[in-house]
Amino acid sequence: MLRKDVNDLLTRTGPDTAMGDLFRQYWMPALLAEELPENDCPPVRVKLMSERLVAFRDSEGRYGLIDEFCAHRGVSLWFGRNEEGGLRCPYHGWKYDYTGQCIEVPSEPEESGFCSKIKLKNYPLIKVGDILWTHMGDPENRPPKPEWEFATVPPEQTFTSKRWQECNWLQAMEGGIDSSHVSWLHSGALVSDPLFKGARGNKYNQGDKRPFFEVVEADGGLFIGARRNAEDGKYYWRITPWVMPSFTMIPPRGDHPVHGHFWVPIDDENCWAWSFDYHPVRALSRDERKAMQDGYGVHVKYTPGSYRPLANKDNDYLMDRAAQRRGETYSGVEGIAMQDASLQESMGPIVDRTKENLVSTDNGIIMARHRLRKAVVALRDKGETPPGVDPAHHKVRSASVVLPPDQAFVDACKEDLTVRPGVKQSSV
């Protein structure tokens, strides 16, 4: 249960909101690099944290992320012509460079310098890995570039997709740290999904549907350990890191690539679920990459020409009750990502947390909310930089291990939970 005022505090991310200010401390994924594939390619509409923007790549390959609307008459620059070093409004020819600076107002004498007085709001856009990242906060406090392992391994070792999720970011993110649902909602996928099946750890998942949990604070966020029984009195641990504000990783299975997510607010009722798969030490196989492109694992099949899932709320997520009865899926929805998204969207655009009845095993979620709230208040009242901004906090890994019963995962797995270049993930 969460009071309404706290729920509002954590879920509202627009400009001049406390949580919005928190998100604006970080480099966040804005676009896939494939969305701006070449110089002078078509511009792309972007909405992030309730701000309407347009992204483009100019003739010299510089990325721009600027206010979507022309300063003249408010026309959307998505209609703009991206050419000769800038984005030109097709209405009256006003032209902007990648910083949002107006560089031409054709109706005014060039000598007047009028255009120098016009500047659209802009944010930086940098490429790290397959992603274009932006920082929408104070340029004076711009943090170092992101150093997440999935984005910094060689390109052949990583794959990233994004999908539109039609609900608030927080309820989507909370699914990413809720390990106990896996044995239920995704039970079908553990035996059928090419990016999940076959791992020894799956049988522990399926054999013990009442895991024990340990929640431990980390510098950047949390480690949430889910403990299930293994052989010989040992425990099978699945350890999920959460790094503030919205980065989560799924504990690995066998030698499958490691998956994870970023949950990025589009506005208060929509978010981007960024989904990645990478292997720390080897290239993804052709079959693995194809499975990801085909929407297996944490990825989805798309509605053609968009990043909206093919199964979405307009078609009842292609609910298949027959497959549910046959035991192929637990909820009747196909695919791990949409099994999560369908349920999270069903909660409503922003779930009313005053009505929920959390139980002890929801303590990962409770602690994440607590830490978010603390960080929001500390930033608002004292200007304190929140956890997760420091790139050192990005260097985390998930892990799945079998440990003797007397060992605390956080001590026994210190190295397993840290990025070690050239060292394979710890996985069962």
Partner: protein, 173 residues
Amino acid sequence: MNTPTLLSSCARAATAEEARYRIDYPNSRARSSRIVALDDEAAAIMRRIEDDVWGDAHFLTFRARNPAPGIEALSIDATLARPDGGETRLSAELAGADVVVMIASSGAGIDAAAAVGNACFVRNIMTAGLIVSRDRTDPDVERAVGALRPYAAVLVIAADEEFVPAMLHALRA
């Protein structure tokens, strides 16, 4: 049966407009929670939040285990202290309890954790362990973790005591 049962039904059901029609009623009865401080510092933390508004929560401090007659190692009950200083028995407190939250700040409460944890285990009562310490690497904390792990379905190590009321309110204590 592969087609949606009603065109766009999820699309409509998940809107903010439809959320207005969710039935507004108390969907749970008060949870009977027992909050047990296992050591002195944990008791001090607990005392600072006892006067908040709570549901059916009993705030208790572990005093002593009550061994079986002639078998010192076997606890059959324990003595707990109420906020007013009066004493109560663990067995009486567990009757009707939905959840027991054990709070510790050090390893001093190993015996207490075993006594409370075992009593909950045999009664099939959900348990949570909460260790409050700024320094997770403190050997005392490790002892506390080791003491609670066998008995707590969920174990949380929190750096600040503000988490205690946050957790209890979240659980509708």
